[in-house]
């Protein structure tokens, strides 16, 4: 899969509420006419937040404020159905606007080089942690978690103390961090982030914004989220990406006009890089994996052939166990099926290579000996428009 499974803010907050991590009072609304019904539940002023899965929605106009519910209804009307950063807003979260004394940052993430979870905190909340890492790296507090011992209250206390809190505030803050770790463990999250976690003038803490990314390899343990990988409007994926995911293919949409199919993630990435090196621009990443059958090859090709931006297709198969005659048959089968008339360039290596070459030659498809030659040829064709 080429996916990362982000939850919407309101979904993350629903989980937080279950774990008693304080969140602002609010309601999810899919129709602006429902906003006035919230009068008994939510105090003004309110904040109206577009539920889309891209970062930076605040700057893009996806987070707006209103001093009355009448005004909020107008704002919701404006946001619902609008497109922000290329994503259609299908729901908005209407929340009480919190009074902020201080903004903090909290997250539990996977630390790849330490091969563990890591608790991250910073007194500079409200901006992306990558920004803080750049301008004030010393302000970031990191605690690696030993998964054999789990995250304990003592470590959480240490972090809260480092943020400058003591007494009951320190205790409350530590509890929030501990619960965040429990969310990560219970939901198989790769990241659970509260940014900002605000301190109110009364000294309480509230998770104002939140982000949870789930591990798609663990979805068998969380069937309630499984459909998210293939549902329209529930992810950042393009139509072709969703189509590919349904077929279990590893596919990513890119900007160019050269369709690419190969076997193995590294080889396909290197093929894209080589195309760019020769001045071309790839339209996609598509890895058919090892030992692809004619059928699998054909279903991968269907995706690329159905992309109207594609002027030429480059297929790079380096098989150890992949049978070249199977691949060749798959290519011709798919081309016939979708009536694809544009050029196809192939580099093929592996078992039954000669048979594969013969089949393709008869089908009028160009075969080149190395991925560099094949990439060069594809770029040439793409430039002259076939």
């Amino acid at each position: 899969m080429a996916s990362i499974l982000k939850l919407f803010e309101h979904e993350a907050k629903t989980i937080f509420s279950k774990y008693k991590i304080p969140t602002p009072t609010g309601e999810l609304v899919t129709s602006s006419s429902r906003v006035l019904e919230l009068a008994s539940k939510i105090n003004v002023p309110v904040v109206i937040k577009a539920q889309i899965l891209v970062s930076g929605r605040g700057k893009a106009g996806g987070i707006l404020y209103a001093n009355s519910l009448v005004e909020a209804e107008l704002v919701a009307k404006k946001l619902l159905g609008a497109e922000i950063k290329g994503f259609k807003v299908q729901s908005v979260l209407v929340e009480e606007k919190c009074v902020i004394k201080r903004e903090l940052y909290f997250s539990i993430a996977v630390d790849r080089s330490n091969r563990s979870y890591v608790a991250i905190a910073s007194p500079e909340g409200g901006i992306e942690i990558e920004e803080v890492a750049k301008v004030a790296p010393k302000k970031i507090i990191k605690f690696f978690i030993d998964s054999l011992l789990d995250f304990d209250l003592h470590q959480a206390h240490q972090i809260a103390k480092k943020l400058g809190y003591s007494g009951s505030q320190m205790q409350n803050l530590a509890m929030i961090l501990l619960k965040l770790y429990n969310v990560v463990i219970d939901f198989d999250a790769e990241l659970a982030e509260i940014n900002p976690l605000i301190e109110t003038p009364e000294g309480t803490f509230i998770a104002v914004d939140s982000r949870i990314i789930l591990d798609d390899n663990a979805l068998y343990r969380h069937p309630e989220f499984k459909r998210r990988l293939t549902e329209n409007g529930k992810s950042e994926f393009s139509t072709l990406e969703l189509e590919a995911h349904k077929k279990g293919l590893s596919y990513v949409t890119l900007d160019g006009n050269i369709g690419v199919i190969g076997n193995g993630a590294g080889l396909v990435m290197a093929t894209l890089d080589t195309i760019q090196l020769f001045g071309g621009s790839p339209a996609n990443f598509l890895d058919v994996g090892g030992g692809a059958s004619a059928e699998e090859m054909a279903s991968a090709l269907n995706i690329v052939f159905s992309d109207p931006r594609v002027d030429v297709v480059l297929i790079n198969i380096l098989g150890g166990i992949t049978r070249c005659d199977e691949v060749a048959r798959g290519i011709l089968m798919a081309r016939g099926r979708v009536n694809f008339l544009k050029p196809v360039v192939v580099r093929l290596m592996g078992i039954n290579e000669e048979d594969g070459r013969l089949i393709l030659k008869e089908g009028g498809i160009q075969i080149l000996d190395s991925m560099e030659e094949a990439a060069k040829k594809a770029v040439e064709i793409a430039k002259t428009g076939g």
């Binding site: 899969m1 080429a2 996916s3 990362i4 996977v110 790849r112 080089s113 091969r115 563990s116 979870y117 992306e128 990558e130 030993d146 998964s147 054999l148 463990i185 198989d188 790769e190 591990d215 390899n217 663990a218 068998y220 343990r221 950042e236 590893s250 990513v252 890119l254 190969g262 076997n263 193995g264 993630a265 590294g266 080889l267 396909v268 990435m269 290197a270 894209l272 890089d273 080589t274 195309i275 760019q276 090196l277 790839p282 990443f285 890895d287 090892g290 380096l318 098989g319 150890g320 166990i321 290596m349 592996g350 190395s370 991925m371 560099e372």
Partner: protein, 288 residues
């Protein structure tokens, strides 16, 4: 010679009766690898390609004096299988299985650290010391015994580069896949150290890709300690957009972290050669 696996390797196959496990066991035996036993809970007492199958790792290790395990167990059960191997005191465990949840991998790595075991992978094509031992799923015909050590996060891209090295007559000492997952055991720095000490290895090729910072750590290691053998690198994913997984679960740029550019710059800063395209790797090796 070579590293991690060789003539002295006596391996068990966990998940030997599964489709992949059985198919690959046959190929490994044909290559000359000493597969001394297999493990599949519930299938103890049977045989697979004339190899005895046991219910537990402990029994298999005890009866056959095994020192290494290769794991083909499906993702849902893989963590338990690897933990069993660790607790049976196996020190080298190669995990071929793809799609193991990260939480499980983290637990595996913590336990491996406690027991001082080396985990290769998960999601690795395995290791081959040509002419001696193949513990993996790579096409053996591509590899020839020789002088270049290869360490990589990718499968087919490694075959691409290894094939050229074979054609040019240099051959490989050992070829290791670290695995395409975000959390893997063995890393570049550890392998660089092993290759440095291996007499058969005269030059090293490191094949990285986007995601994480294992390449940056390798560059930092070379920058601080120097490297006594010629080292050529290639990094895949210059064209990869942020926030998208490029095939491997671990091949993803998060925010601004893990870009090919960052890795390439780190290597160049450390004085390490970076190939622009896979075919340049052999050219650079021949020059060095």
């Amino acid at each position: 010679m070579g590293i991690l696996v060789g003539e002295e390797t006596r391996a068990i196959v966990q998940g030997i009766t599964g489709t992949q496990g059985s198919f690959q066991t046959k190929l490994m035996i044909n290559y000359g690898t000493k597969i001394v036993a297999g493990v599949t809970p519930g299938k103890g007492g049977t045989k697979e390609h004339k190899v005895s199958v046991y219910n537990t790792v402990e029994k298999a290790v005890k009866n056959h004096d095994a020192n290494t395990s290769i794991v083909f167990v499906p993702a849902r059960f893989a963590a338990d299988a690897v933990l069993e191997a660790i607790k049976s005191d196996l020190k080298n465990i190669i995990v071929i299985t793809e799609h193991i949840p990260v939480k499980d991998s983290i637990e595996i790595m913590a336990m491996a650290k406690k027991y001082n075991a080396t985990i290769v992978g998960p999601n690795t094509p395995g290791i081959i010391t040509p002419g001696e031992c193949k513990l993996g799923v790579m096409p053996s015909s591509i590899f020839k015994s020789g002088i270049v050590g290869i360490v990589s996060r990718s499968g087919t891209l490694t075959y691409e580069i290894a094939a050229r090295i074979s054609v040019k007559g240099m051959g490989q000492s050992t070829c290791i896949g670290l695995g395409g997952d975000p959390v893997v055991g063995l890393n570049f720095v550890e392998v660089l150290k092993m290759f440095e000490e291996d007499h058969q290895t005269k030059a090293v090729v490191l094949i990285g890709e986007i995601g994480g910072n294992l390449e940056e750590l390798a560059a930092d290691f070379v920058n601080k300690k120097g490297y006594s053998k010629p080292l050529v690198t290639f990094v895949a994913g210059r064209t990869a957009p942020p926030g998208k997984r490029m095939g491997h679960a671990g091949a993803i740029i998060m925010g601004e972290a893990g870009t090919a550019q960052s890795k390439i710059e780190a290597f160049l800063e450390a004085g390490v050669e970076v190939a622009e395209k896979p075919s340049d790797v052999t050219k650079m090796l021949l020059r060095s």
